[in-house]
C-alpha cells in the first residue's frame, strides 16, 4: 500500500480523490455505492447566502464525450445547509468542503463568514467560475481585478483553507491564478466548466433554457490538463485538478501535470462507484511504478530534452 496522503495548505487528505461540486450532492446520495469514509474529501453543491431556484428546465444536454449543464446554482442557501444538512454529515470521518457561490462580494463574504464559525468544516472552495448565473459567478473569475477583490474580501474574514475555483473561460488562466494567489488564496482548483452551446437542428432551437451552459466530461480533459500544467508553473500554492477525470489513469495524468489532488465530477453520473475505483487505481499505479508516496507524483511530468515548450511565461 502506497502512502496516498496529500495536503492542500493546512488541509490533510487521506488520498487525493475528492468529488467535484454539483456532481455528488452532499455525498449521501452516493452512500449506497461508495464508502464515503474512503474519499479524500467531499465538495458539496454550490451554496449561496440565500435559497436559489436555479434555471428553468431543460438544464442539460448530452454532447460528444460530455454534457452541458445550466443548473444555475439551485440550492437552499447556507442556513439550510448548516442547520438541516450538516448535522447529518457529521457522522462521516472525512473533510467536507463547501463550494461557496454568489452574485455579489457581500454574498460570498456572508456565506464564508458563517462557514468560518463551524469548526469541523476545514475549507471552502470559492466558486468564481459558475457560467450559469446572470450576475456574478464567472464574472468574478474572468477579470484579475475582480478575482483578486473577491478573494481578498473572503480572505479577510475566513481563517481556514481557502481554495479558489478558476474558470477556463479566459485568455490566460495563469494571470487569474496569480491574482488570487496574491490576494491570499491557499490553493486553486481548476477547471470549472467551459462555456458551450447545443442546438436542436430539428426544432431550430437551443437545447438549454439558458441557450449556453457549462461543458464537462472527458471532452474537456485535454484543456483542463493543459491549464493545470500552466498554472502549476505559474504559482506556488497547491493546484487541484478537475476536468473530465473518468478513471485512475486520468487522475494520475493530472497529478503528473502538477495537481496535488483531483476532483471527480461528471464520471460520478456514469459510474457512482468510480471514486472508490480511482483511489484503488492510484494505489496500484504507485505500487507498480515504485512510488512510495503519491506526493512524489505531483508535477513529476518528464519533459524530454528535445521538447519545445510553447508555454513560455
Amino acid at each position: 500500500m502506497a502512502n496516498l496522503t496529500t495536503q492542500i495548505h493546512r488541509l490533510k487528505l487521506q488520498n487525493p480523490v475528492m468529488t467535484a461540486s454539483g456532481t455528488f450532492g452532499y455525498g449521501e446520495e452516493f452512500a449506497d455505492f461508495v464508502d464515503l469514509n474512503r474519499l479524500g474529501a467531499i465538495i458539496v453543491k454550490g451554496t449561496t447566502s440565500t435559497e436559489r431556484e436555479g434555471n428553468p428546465y431543460p438544464r442539460m444536454a448530452e454532447t460528444a464525450s460530455g454534457m452541458l449543464n445550466s443548473v444555475g446554482l439551485q440550492n437552499k442557501g447556507i442556513d439550510y445547509f448548516i442547520h438541516d444538512i450538516w448535522p447529518r454529515l457529521k457522522k462521516y470521518k472525512i473533510p467536507f468542503i463547501v463550494n461557496v457561490s454568489g452574485s455579489t462580494i457581500e454574498e460570498y463574504v456572508e456565506t464564508a463568514e458563517k462557514l468560518n464559525s463551524i469548526e469541523e468544516l476545514p475549507a471552502i472552495e470559492l466558486n468564481i467560475s459558475c457560467p450559469n448565473v446572470k450576475e456574478g459567478g464567472m464574472a468574478f473569475g474572468t477579470s484579475c481585478t475582480a478575482a483578486a477583490k473577491v478573494t481578498k474580501s473572503v480572505r479577510d474574514i475566513y481563517h481556514k483553507t481557502l481554495i479558489v475555483k478558476l474558470s477556463p473561460n479566459v485568455t490566460d488562466i495563469t494571470e487569474i491564478a496569480r491574482a488570487v494567489e496574491g490576494a491570499g488564496a491557499d490553493a486553486v482548483s481548476l477547471i470549472n466548466t467551459l462555456l458551450g452551446m447545443a442546438i436542436d437542428a430539428n426544432s431550430r432551437k437551443p437545447v438549454l433554457s439558458t441557450i449556453t451552459g457549462g461543458l464537462s466530461g472527458p471532452a474537456i480533459k485535454p484543456i483542463a490538463l493543459r491549464m493545470v500544467w500552466q498554472v502549476f508553473q505559474a504559482i506556488k500554492i497547491p493546484v487541484i485538478g478537475i476536468g473530465g477525470i473518468m478513471n485512475a489513469t486520468d487522475a494520475i495524468e493530472f497529478l503528473l501535470a502538477g495537481a496535488s489532488a483531483i476532483e471527480v465530477g461528471t464520471a460520478n453520473f456514469i459510474d457512482p462507484t468510480i471514486t472508490s475505483k480511482i483511489i484503488d487505481g492510484i494505489n496500484d499505479y504507485c505500487e507498480r511504478n515504485h512510488f512510495t508516496s503519491v506526493k512524489d507524483l505531483v508535477g513529476a511530468l518528464i519533459i524530454p530534452e528535445q521538447t519545445v515548450d510553447m508555454n513560455i511565461s
Binding site: T23, E29, M60, T63, A64, V71, F269
Partner: protein, 260 residues
Amino acid sequence: MPNKFFHDFIVTKNIELNVSHFILELLCPEPLPKINPGQFVEIKVEHSPSTFLRRPFSIHEVNLQNNTIQLLIQKKGEGTRQLSYLKKGDRLNLIYPLGNSFQIVQHEKVLLVGGGCGVAPLLFLARILKENGNEIKILIGAKSKDDILEKEIFEKLGKVFITTEDGSEGTRGFVIHHGIWRQTPFMFSKIYTCGPEPMMKAVARLAQIHRVACEVSLEQTMACGLGACLCCVVNTKNGNVCTCTQGPVFLSEELTGWTH
C-alpha cells in the same frame, strides 16, 4: 441496508413487439430488492460512443419467481438502437431501483391511461393494483393499430379501451376523446397516466373536471438519476424538484401549470 444497487444484469429475453418497440427481460444476479410500480432503472449503454450518459427506463414488470425485470423500450436514438441488438446472455449494467412510485389504493375503481410507449410503467402498476383488490380499466392510445402495445397482457388485468389517431382500432382520436370520460356519474376514484406530456396534461385536466386524483409519471432528460446533478427538475408547488428522486410520479395538482 442499501436501497439502491449497481451491478450487471444478464439478458434472458429480447422480444420485438413491433418495428420500434421491444422488451428486454433481465435476470438479476442477486435476489431482487423490493421494487415498486413507477420506479425506474438507469442503464449504461455499451458499444455506443455517442451515448455518454446512462439512460433511464421505467420498470415494465417484475417477476420475483424468476428474479427478472422487464423493460419496454422504444427505439428512439443511437442508445436504444444498441439496446435493441442485445441477445440472451449479454450483460447490462444497471443502477436501480430509482425514484418514487405510484400510490397503491385498495378496493377502488381506477383508470390507467397510457399513450404509446407510456404503457411501460402501467403493466406492473396494473398487476399490483389488481392484487390490492381494485377494479381496473385501461385506456390505451396509439397512432394506429400496429402501435398498440401489450393489449392482450393488459386484458388479463382489466377491461381495455383503445383509441387510435387514424381510427384503425377503437375510438378515432386521442385518449381524451374516448367515451369513458363522458359517462355520468364518472365511475373512477383515481387515475394513473403515463405518455407524451401533452396527453398527460389533457388527462390531468379531465381528472380535475371529474374531481379525482391523477398521478402522472414524467419523463425528463436525466443525468445521474440520484438527485445529485439537479438536471431533471420539474417545477412544482414546492419549487424545482428532481424528477429522479422526488418523481418520476407526481400528483398532477403538484405540478406548476398542469391544473387550473
